[in-house]
Symmetry: C2
Subunit: 214 residues, 2 copies
DNA sequence: TAATCTACCAAACACTTGTTAGAAAAGCGT
DNA sequence: ACGCTTTTCTAACAAGTGTTTGGTAGATTA
């Protein structure tokens, strides 16, 4: 009920206290650096001094650009999820058939991993603890939309006879979801495989399996 | 009497420092509690006071049983990996055909998740940072044996014509590995699915895919 | 009963943490 | 050159961290 502060989209302060105006470009630059450190060391193990080190400045200087360490994390994840849903919504609006929808969602996911691999890695490691905090409510919301989009697609596929009906749908959902996103833990951009190529191989395994058809 | 037992296989202690002799049962009990807290909150976010709280004692009292917070983590992971390899080695010694080996390894993995879900969750979150430290060298060793066992099985399967040869073997390895172990993040024992049942469904998806065969 | 051992508590330690406030540059239009 | 704004540094803070030390209740042994 009592929210302590506002930070992201609302610069105007309460009474009197005019704020500084840090440049958004520098902000993004610093957030990129912070995201890399967060992803590599974990959020809690990352001190603001380490971030500052990586950015070539001192710890206190970060607070000219950001309210707190936590608000850096929040902005990183929020930016990622916003762009992710931009892509997903585009796919869902197209109203393709279940199989094509699944293929498009998976491909889109690998593109997002390619563009936001640090944020994805952070998300995977920290989301579970963060959803409990009210400040990160949007994580829970996103997870619910996510589950709904995937489950609906799978169930429609089963109903239309393109996906197997002898599998637990919820288990299949977790299966597909996890197989896609854990790739962020080892994927490195420019490593020989393009996102689309990885998506193609993953889809081939998820849809048809790794065993030879007899 | 005079010479106390050594905790694990850690290098020989310094001169003179005689140790107490805490009971191994209490040790295991406390490690189980610590593992749960580590798994839920993350290692770095877990303070020794939280562990002590969960155990109904004070922070300092933990140091009667353990050298440090880190050595608790080490013992948790080492115990898990030891038991894991007990199971894996049993499977590998049987020298089944590639497909049966894969099925047995996956099933064994889900059994270990069932028995050590906290340790598995910790492993997944922290292993990446820990392998850098020399104290956790055995993590790197285990990962290498792990990769070798899986890759060999997959490649033998391809050679014998039971696994598809149009897939990147290394990608397939990561695929199988990740799909199995991330299950620890949502699996809860006694949740309707037995480890064997989950293994069966996962294997069905990994081997044959989720799409209907035409 | 006295001596010893086990397992814990109580209180502090040195250090790191995120964060703040004021001073000092650095940049820039005039 | 100047004033003004934007950015960083210096230097500290209070709270929290893992850990150590010495003490002590209760069981076990002599």
């Amino acid at each position: 009920m009592s929210k302590p502060k506002q930070s992201t989209s609302t610069p105007p302060r309460g009474p009197g206290a005019a704020r500084q105006s840090p440049s958004p470009e520098r902000r993004r630059e610093l957030l990129g650096i912070a995201a890399d450190v967060f992803a590599e060391q974990g959020y809690n193990a990352t001190t603001v001094r380490k971030i500052a080190d990586a950015a070539g400045m001192l710890a206190g200087s970060l607070y000219y650009h950001f309210d707190s360490k936590e608000s850096m994390l929040e902005e990183i994840l929020r930016t990622f999820l916003t762009e992710l849903w931009d892509g997903y919504d585009g796919v869902l609006r197209a109203e393709l058939d279940p199989r094509a929808t699944l293929e498009a969602l998976v491909t889109e996911s690998f593109r997002e991993i390619d563009r936001h691999r640090a944020a994805v890695a952070i998300y995977q490691k920290e989301a579970r603890h963060l959803v409990a905090q009210e400040r990160f409510q949007y994580l829970a919301d996103s997870q619910q939309r996510f589950e709904k989009a995937w489950l609906t697609t799978l169930e429609r596929g089963v109903a239309e006879g393109v996906f197997r009906d002898d599998l637990d749908t919820r288990l299949a959902y977790r299966f597909v979801r996890d197989t896609v996103w854990v790739a962020a833990s080892w994927y490195r951009p420019g490593g020989g495989h393009s996102p689309e190529e990885i998506a193609r191989q993953y889809l081939s395994m998820v849809l048809d399996g790794i065993s030879v058809r007899t």
